[in-house]
């Protein structure tokens, strides 16, 4: 197990290095000199001579070989120095630190909700196959996967916010400041974020449960005269969870991707909203850092998923 974890850690590190390389070089491939872009946008530098340009270039380390520049960037990132935002005129690190908890708060809620409810719904649909529970759950999963979440958000705002007046339509409050308001504000965004992953989890759970309850050892359990509850919970559940767990990392990716859209719909000051607004203000340092943060979260999530996967299924060889 330890070798497996170490191996998997090395792999994650490798992927992380690749991702940083891709993001770094993608930003360097921008048409034009990053310095010229920077100067073009900041008033104080707009009237600079060629000599001054050289000086600035030296100051930003842009006259060094590209690999040194990359190393410098990584060195900065590791210490939490993401460079400066041109638009907000403050360090990107501080911007991200402010917004990161917001995205994590809503994202984690959506992830937990979609996983638990998805597993329960899929389980119900599988053990009551063809009955009304299945006939309700299965079509709903199709809708959940195909609905555009920004549209769902707007529908919910219209219904629960504008018509029924039950929930606040936009904004975000930290649960530490005002728990009740925070919860009320979080209901709609979290629902929208979790819908796709919930439906996908339910579908995966249903099909893998149907697969498992056909197995011989389940028939043996029935023939021993065990109760249904015991068979499902003690025998079938663990095995049917394995395929579900493998896709959880992917679902977290969806939720984080969705946060870009949902934070825009509900005006929530998280990483996703920051990224979208920064694209329009051509604040490349921020876009770059947000992408990196998303990447790190996803790599980390997949790491955890893979390790728990190994723990759940002892048949897997940690080779």
């Amino acid at each position: 197990m330890t070798t497996y974890i170490v191996r998997r850690l090395m792999q994650a590190l490798f992927v992380l290095i690749m991702v940083t390389l891709v993001i770094f070089f993608a930003m360097r491939l921008l048409p034009g000199d990053p310095l010229v872009i920077y100067i073009g946008q900041s008033q104080q530098f707009s009237s600079l001579s060629e000599e001054g340009l050289e000086k600035l270039r030296h100051q930003f380390g842009l006259d060094k070989p590209i690999m040194i520049q990359y190393a410098n960037w990584i060195y900065g990132v590791v210490r939490g120095d993401f460079g400066n935002s041109i638009f907000y005129t403050q360090p990107v690190g501080r911007l991200i630190l402010e917004r990161y908890p917001v995205t994590i708060h809503l994202g984690l809620l959506a992830f937990i909700l979609s996983t638990i409810l998805g597993i329960l719904a899929g389980l119900l649909a599988a053990i009551r196959r063809g009955k009304w529970a299945d006939r309700v759950v299965t079509p709903l999963t199709y809708i959940g996967i195909t609905v555009p979440i920004f549209w769902l958000g707007i529908l919910m705002i219209y219904t629960f916010g504008l018509k029924l007046n039950w929930l606040p339509i936009i904004g975000y409050t930290s649960p530490l400041d005002d728990f009740w308001l925070s919860t009320k504000q979080a209901i709609m965004p979290v629902t929208c974020l979790s819908v796709g992953a919930l439906a996908a989890t339910a579908r995966q759970m249903r099909s893998s449960m149907l697969e498992v309850i056909r197995q011989d050892y389940i028939r043996t359990a029935w023939s021993k005269g065990l109760r249904e509850r015991l068979i499902i919970v003690r025998h079938a559940l663990k095995n049917s969870l394995i395929p579900v767990i493998t896709v959880l990392g992917l679902h977290l990716g969806w939720i984080l991707g969705g946060s870009v859209i949902i934070e825009t719909v509900f005006s929530i000051p998280g990483i996703g909203y920051l990224m979208v607004t920064s694209i329009f203000s051509q604040d490349y340092a921020v876009v770059q850092s947000c992408t990196l943060i998303f990447a790190v979260m996803i790599i980390f999530a997949n790491l955890i998923v893979d390790i728990s996967y190994g723990w759940l299924d002892p048949r897997i060889k940690y080779g």
Partner: protein
């Protein structure tokens, strides 16, 4: 000569192939939802092609005397904030959605399938390098990747197509690589190799045709998600430039007038959902009809 001709003819028309096609039709058309999906796709294709004839008004023509009209006989879905007919824009939006979907799919499928075949067929270090890259891109949210690419290249519709095309390459690579790896192990491949067939011939004659069924399923399912992603990007304001009609952008424009005229936002959203739903249904139907074992893996 004549004899061998008839034998080969008899072989090529051997019963399994005929019954396979029949089995495909039986399974595919068995589910009502699949037929429903296919029906919707046909209507949409028709709408996209004949948009010029079907649209009651010019989708770009502003009419400031008739802004934000409620649905009526003259304007079935009302008009938007600068007096453009919503139904006409919806119809032209079909064209945008399908064009972006198909072009992005063409980019990602051609790159992804090529890489997947190279990785799976040649194996070894090529496989490791290509699949590692795929693993890097795979868990990345398509929308974030497309945003990054769109941020780098600028907003236009061409860049959105390119961004979505690049972002979805890994799906095809992974599926094709898996297929190529398993096909490679067959005895007939070894026999053909022994007879001195070139790699190109092997890939074209054996690997590609055998890998085709799962690829076609992935293509169908991906088309739906590409259209959904395009809608998400244009909702965020990236993609088609202002006068053009895109469903996602229409939802966003309507969002501002949600209290006064909710249909402005509701109608294009419903259209997006219908298309994605239809592609999903047809994709699922194809998967079950082509190879039931793929259920749950694609």
């Amino acid at each position: 000569m004549a004899e061998s001709d008839t034998t080969s003819k008899a072989l090529s028309e051997a019963p399994p192939q005929v019954s396979e096609w029949r089995r495909f039709r039986r399974v595919f058309f068995q589910r009502r939802m699949v037929i429903f999906g296919l029906f919707i796709l046909l209507i949409l294709g028709f709408t996209a092609i004949f948009a010029d004839w079907l649209a009651p008004y010019d989708p770009y023509k502003q009419d400031l005397n008739n802004i934000l009209l409620q649905p009526s006989k003259a304007h079935l879905l009302g008009t938007d904030a600068i007096g453009r007919d919503t139904l006409s824009r919806l119809i032209y939006g079909t064209r945008t959605a399908l064009t972006v979907g198909f072009l992005a799919m063409a980019i990602s499928a051609s790159i992804g399938v090529t890489l997947g075949i190279i990785a799976g067929y040649f194996g070894g270090i090529t496989n490791i390098v290509i699949m590692r890259f795929t693993d890097v891109l795979m868990p990345f949210p398509m929308i974030v990747l497309a945003l990054l690419i769109a941020a780098l290249l600028g907003g236009g519709i061409h860049n959105v197509i390119l961004a979505l095309g690049i972002a979805t390459v890994p799906v095809y690579t992974r599926v094709t690589c898996g297929m190529a790896l398993s096909i490679r192990e067959n005895d007939y491949i070894m026999a053909e190799r022994a007879m001195g067939a070139s790699h190109m011939r092997m890939i074209m004659r054996h690997v590609l045709p055998n890998a085709f069924p799962p690829i076609i399923v992935v293509i169908t399912l991906q088309l739906g998600f590409l259209i959904l992603s395009e809608a998400s990007l244009s909702f965020l304001g990236i993609g088609i430039e202002p006068p053009g009609a895109a469903w996602g952008a229409m939802v966003n424009e309507g969002y501002r007038y949600l209290v006064k005229l909710p249909i402005l936002s509701f109608a294009p959203g419903a259209a997006i959902m219908l298309v994605v739903f239809a592609f999903n249904m047809v994709g699922d139907g194809l998967r079950d009809a082509l190879d039931p074992r793929l259920r749950g893996t694609l």
